[in-house]
């Protein structure tokens, strides 16, 4: 839940996070664009889920990013 709220802030552009990982940066940018076009709670939830699925798949190389995201 702690991470969810940080991801929501990121997707809403209320917080900023720049990764060294190309895919994560492109994903953040895409989700921010998607949300800016449809600022509904459902869309926000979909965007958060997509980012969490990405973290799940790349868990082994995303540890630092996840820890840093918790601090934003």
């Amino acid at each position: 839940m702690e991470l969810d709220s940080k991801l929501e802030a990121l997707i809403k552009k209320q917080a900023k996070y720049e990764s060294k990982n190309l895919a994560l940066n492109l994903l953040i940018s895409r989700l921010q664009r998607q949300y800016s076009l449809n600022q509904s709670p459902e869309q926000l939830s979909r965007c958060v889920q997509e980012m969490k699925m990405f973290f799940e798949k790349y868990a082994s190389i995303m540890k630092n990013d996840i820890e840093e995201l918790k601090k934003i």
Partner: protein, 324 residues
């Protein structure tokens, strides 16, 4: 590695899993095997940029557990994510100016799951002094296509994954001119420059903008270029090599005088990278006069577009297999 036809054929006969870039005349002569290929006679080798119709650039894919080759057109190109191995990578080659290349360029940034599998590759090209066609090759059956994309899906061991990176030598001035487009497009007439509607072709001409330098958008700190193909004062249009997107804010890139120097500056931090694949753009090669100039540790085909999840322009793309 930059090898002759016999050496490339030997690697194929040895059963190696290969990515091959070369002129069509050489790719046509290769035996069937575990390879995919695309056409270009331009390369940046370890010795420097070169034009060759006598040698092939070959990447051997190490530590592959399994692989499969698939051919796609515009109706199914985004099946690449579905077809990919759950722990793997996908090398994708698409012929320049094909329907599937245009479709991929416009739709990849919107494609679901595109970031769930590392997808990288290039847009194949041809000798610019001829009227040849860009092609891709499915080495398993030796068939070439000018209207289809070819992909090699590679399954990696559980303890390995792939890291994709790009090197963009262009910068933007955040306080400089801001450009917004009305819709996603490969050809543009009117747009907003600093909030004021202009005909972009007229603006470029009147402002004496050097079209060798791309438009650049910031994707959460990743600078993504869109290269200018043609400016037609007559038609009042500007054509791009990749689409511009209405949601993005674009800037004209800061001019660069010495591309090789700029690459070397950017590559300092990447000396330890051990790429399994890399490619660089034909526009960097031509405008930057990279013939004879190397970009270590990166060597590979010079391409008509680069792919790292989506189509990129005037960018060096690389892939590295790393431990999880």
């Amino acid at each position: 590695m930059f090898v002759n036809l016999d050496e490339a054929a030997k690697l194929i006969r040895e059963g190696k899993i290969l990515h091959i870039a070369a002129d069509e005349s050489l790719l046509d002569k290769l035996p069937k095997g575990k390879w995919i290929g695309g056409t270009t006679p331009y390369f940046i080798t370890e010795e420097g940029g070169t034009f060759s119709k006598d040698k092939l650039f070959v990447n051997e894919i190490p530590c592959a557990v399994d692989f499969k080759i698939a051919v796609y057109d515009r109706t199914n190109i985004f099946d690449i994510t579905k077809d990919a191995y759950s722990n793997g990578m996908t090398m994708l080659i698409i012929p320049f100016a094909s329907d599937v290349a245009v479709y991929f360029a416009k739709e990849a940034p919107y494609s679901a799951d595109i970031f769930m599998n590392p997808t990288f590759g290039w847009i194949s090209g041809f000798d610019l002094s001829t009227d040849s066609k860009a092609k891709v090759y499915d080495g398993a059956n030796g068939v070439s296509y000018s209207d289809k994309a070819v992909a090699m899906h590679i399954c990696l061991p559980d303890d390995k994954t792939v890291s994709l990176g790009i090197v963009n030598i262009f910068d933007i001035d955040e306080k400089g001119t801001k450009i917004k487009f009305y819709k996603d497009a490969l050809t543009v007439s009117k747009c907003l420059v600093d909030g004021k509607e202009v005909v972009l072709s007229e603006y470029i001409e009147e402002s004496k903008i050097d079209t060798k330098f791309p438009l650049v958008a910031d994707y959460n700190s990743v600078l993504v270029n869109v290269s200018i193909k043609t400016v037609s004062r007559e038609n009042g249009t500007v054509d791009f090599y990749a689409p511009v997107f209405s949601e993005n804010e674009y800037h004209f890139a800061r001019p660069i005088s010495n591309y090789a120097e700029k690459f070397n500056e950017r590559l300092k931090e990447l000396r330890d990278v051990k790429p399994v694949f890399s490619c660089n753009c034909i526009l960097n090669y031509l405008y930057g006069e990279l013939e004879g100039k190397a970009t270590p540790p990166f060597a590979g085909p010079v391409t008509f577009g680069e792919i790292a999840y989506q189509l990129l322009n005037q960018t060096l793309v690389y892939a590295e297999i790393i431990d999880k």
